[in-house]
Amino acid sequence: MNNKKSAKKHSLRNDIILITAVILAAVIGLIYLNFFRSPGDSVTVTVDGEVYGVYPLSRDICEDIYSGSNNENHNRFVIKDGKAFMETATCPDGICVGHKSIFRNGESIVCLPNRVVITVTLGEKTDSPDVII
């Protein structure tokens, strides 16, 4: 009985170590992702893993992205004041619309249901129609 009790205490201590370690790793990860990345200069949009377009962060735009087999899914993403965010989306969960705006290199907003990903990138050529002379 005594042995069983001490084993129980032991595993309780291990539980707490595990929980603390996971939370700590997550917090360190979040701090890194939020504060220690340099700003990017453009936004790459992919749909279904395919590049849909690259847009410079320096110019304000509002772009409608249609996806799905019949173009039934819609995401509107906006670049404003050097930051990108998802303004509206037809996805059921709305995680992408609730996501804070992004501007650091590597930051991204993912719309899992519509399979749309917008990622801030650095040093990539932008292929917006406006710069074609």
């Binding site: 309780l12 929980i19 997550a26 992702l33 992919t46 969960d93 709305g94 995680i95 609730g98």
Partner: protein, 167 residues
């Protein structure tokens, strides 16, 4: 023969209960509407209980049947891929940790909850061909831990209280 049919019947009851839990979970309004990946993982209470009282094979079968049925009833092919990735990884982690008897059911359930989210993130990274899911992973690790503690406490209570003659 009698024992075998009793086992099958009990497995059926467990699957049914897990389905009800999955359904209740759909009904609960999300805590943070901006973070849909957050689920309590209520069906996992049953899986944790079964893992300790009926062994890994029984728990594994109930878990897989549950995932297949939930995806067929409420989801689609995509939902099935995500559920399977999360469910299988979670189950494997919990079976291994249970064997090592390093943690109490609460710790096992926390590890299972976090593994569940990691499995789904890996599947998302594969499907979307992006590795930029670190933010989601960090957030889901925290929520998976909180949910895991709750699930583990419920599971531990059942493991202790449900008499052997009932199962």
């Amino acid at each position: 023969m009698k024992k075998k049919s009793k086992t099958v019947a009990f497995g059926g009851i467990c699957v049914a209960l897990a389905l009800i839990f999955a359904y209740i979970e759909v009904l609960i309004p999300p805590l943070f509407t901006s973070l849909p990946g957050i689920k309590m993982g209520l069906p996992n209470i049953i899986i944790v209980f079964l893992l300790y009282r009926k062994g890994p094979v029984f728990a594994g079968i109930v878990s897989l049947v549950r995932i297949l049925l939930v995806s067929m009833l409420f989801g689609n092919m995509m939902a099935l891929m995500y559920s399977l990735a999360g469910g299988v990884l979670s189950l494997l982690v919990m079976i291994i940790l249970r064997k090592l008897s390093f943690f109490s059911p609460v710790g096992v359930s926390v590890a299972g909850g976090v593994a569940h989210n990691i499995g789904q993130i890996i599947m998302a990274a594969l499907l979307l061909e992006t590795s930029e899911l670190g933010y989601y992973l960090a957030v889901l690790a925290v929520t998976g831990t909180v949910a895991g503690v709750f699930i583990g406490l419920c599971g531990a209570l059942l493991i202790k209280r449900i008499p052997d003659k009932l199962i």
